[in-house]
Symmetry: C2
Subunit: 293 residues, 2 copies
């Protein structure tokens, strides 16, 4: 199906007016069915490149060397429909160039949450690709073209991302699960051997612990986890690794809450610029994006 965001989908224009879903028939139950599909355990030689470049899907991990943000481009090689997760405003030129060079039709520019450390590129991307719609969690209270809620599906070509609410870093944090490919995009809920801070933006260490264990580490152990950030040069992890080696989330919840309360992290450099901009797709009330070296 080539429908847009599904389930209890609602669309809102940037002026805030809300339209009813056009796809009530693809809801949470449908999205969750993917999770119970039998896992094919047969392994094919060369299927990595066959799957990941050109023959079935397009997958590209991109990085911002300033905010240490990862952006992800996911595409269906057959239909050319694609989704971009967590673009950064200063790197929209790069991202749009890659989308065009790969001949992709970018349906959605999706945020995992309202970022505090960089300005989202979703608004700028909509200017360059007018058919692209911005997407964010309805409970984030940020503006976007499409709101998502728990269990919704974001479809592109033959594929679909299941939307899982994973609050704790912020109320509106979502993890996007690509069941067919055994991947999840965790935003700031789960980082590689770490997790997002919980000391501002409705942060809750208890909520984050329950989100990560209940919605992310409950996925199959071989699932690859792609975070919104890494500061150590690591690009991915797996459910198995984080269940065994995450120094915070392997602890009991009371120890985790104490660890998070004692982090004493500095005030985010871009917070005052990023938060108001990210509430409106990064396109209003922002200074001109600084040029990248």
């Amino acid at each position: 199906m080539l429908s847009s965001v599904c389930g209890s989908l609602r669309r809102t224009l940037c002026n805030g007016s809300v339209l009813a879903s056009k796809h009530p028939f693809l809801g949470r139950s449908n999205a969750l069915k993917l999770e119970t599909k039998p896992v094919c355990t047969r392994v094919m030689y060369r299927s990595y490149s066959a799957n990941m470049h050109g023959q079935e899907v397009v997958f590209r991990q991109l990085f911002d060397n300033t905010s240490f943000t990862y952006t992800y481009l996911l595409g269906d090689a057959a239909s050319k429909e694609a989704v971009l997760i967590d673009p950064v405003i200063e790197l929209v030129d790069r991202d749009v160039r890659i989308v065009k060079e790969l001949g992709l039709n970018l349906k959605y520019a999706v945020n995992t949450h309202v970022h505090a450390d960089h300005v989202t590129g979703t608004g700028e991307i909509k200017k360059r690709i007018p058919t692209c719609k911005s997407v964010i969690a309805e409970c984030s209270q940020a503006k976007a073209d499409v709101f998502i809620n728990e269990g919704d599906g974001i479809e592109f070509g033959q594929f679909k991302l299941e939307c899982r609410s994973t609050p704790g870093h912020t109320d509106g944090c979502f993890t996007y699960v690509w069941h067919e490919k055994g991947m999840a995009f965790t935003g700031d809920a789960l980082l590689i051997r770490g997790c997002g801070r919980t000391d501002f933006q409705q942060g809750s260490s208890e909520a984050l612990y329950k989100s990560v264990h209940g919605k992310i580490l409950s996925l199959p152990e071989q699932f690859i986890l792609y975070p919104a950030h890494d500061y150590t040069g690591q690009t991915s992890t797996t459910v198995r690794e984080e269940k065994n080696h995450n120094p915070r989330l392997t602890k009991p919840i009371d120890v985790f809450i104490r660890i998070m309360s004692e982090l004493n992290l500095p005030y985010p450099k871009q917070l005052d610029r990023a938060l108001p901009a990210n509430m409106v797709c990064g396109i209003f009330d922002t200074e001109s994006p600084p040029s990248k070296s």
Copy 2:
């Protein structure tokens, strides 16, 4: 087979003494057979995660935010044998921790060439993992435990990397091709939408052009190419993309040579420190590695 580097392999101790190959029966012809294996075109759902994490292979791309170097960890999940390509000395702690957390037996720490922009971590890794052997091209004239030549194979568990000589950035540049997985690790010969400079270290634009077109862009178009560096936040490309979009290497050779002659690049920041160190596995005559923030 669990043999070490194959083909016209020779081992040399760091004092330079050379031993004959123990594996003359696995040579160039054997390595090249991989290239002519029929390609399986059937695509399996979830085979990306099944292949790339835990079930058959381990693959991890790592990044140095200072020198913009990519390090690659490749492992056979069954035998746990692994290879690390282009480690950076300042990040050896990170790389060794990941190797141990994943329960891998690191057989080889391999360099694609004698780097001018960072000090290799191969020597430091040998100190932490004494069974690991350093590997570099024989024609690089650098010291290492194992020398490779055109057509040799680097085996780890059930897998093998084919060694392809791709001079031009330096005489000793090699590209490592993982035929079973449709990947190639191109070092500085081919970068994403670019290529390595050719204005020092025996650089030759003509040689580089012939290396890239003859040894890398001649691979199947869906092969994923992983470079030693990227400065724009891109993590991989494909043969198809570089054949269509590389702004230098899509040009005729005479235009390419002119482009390379007019780059006027600055002197590499770490060259004076890196070159002498990298001629001896990065372990002699080097200052203490600066701490990473």
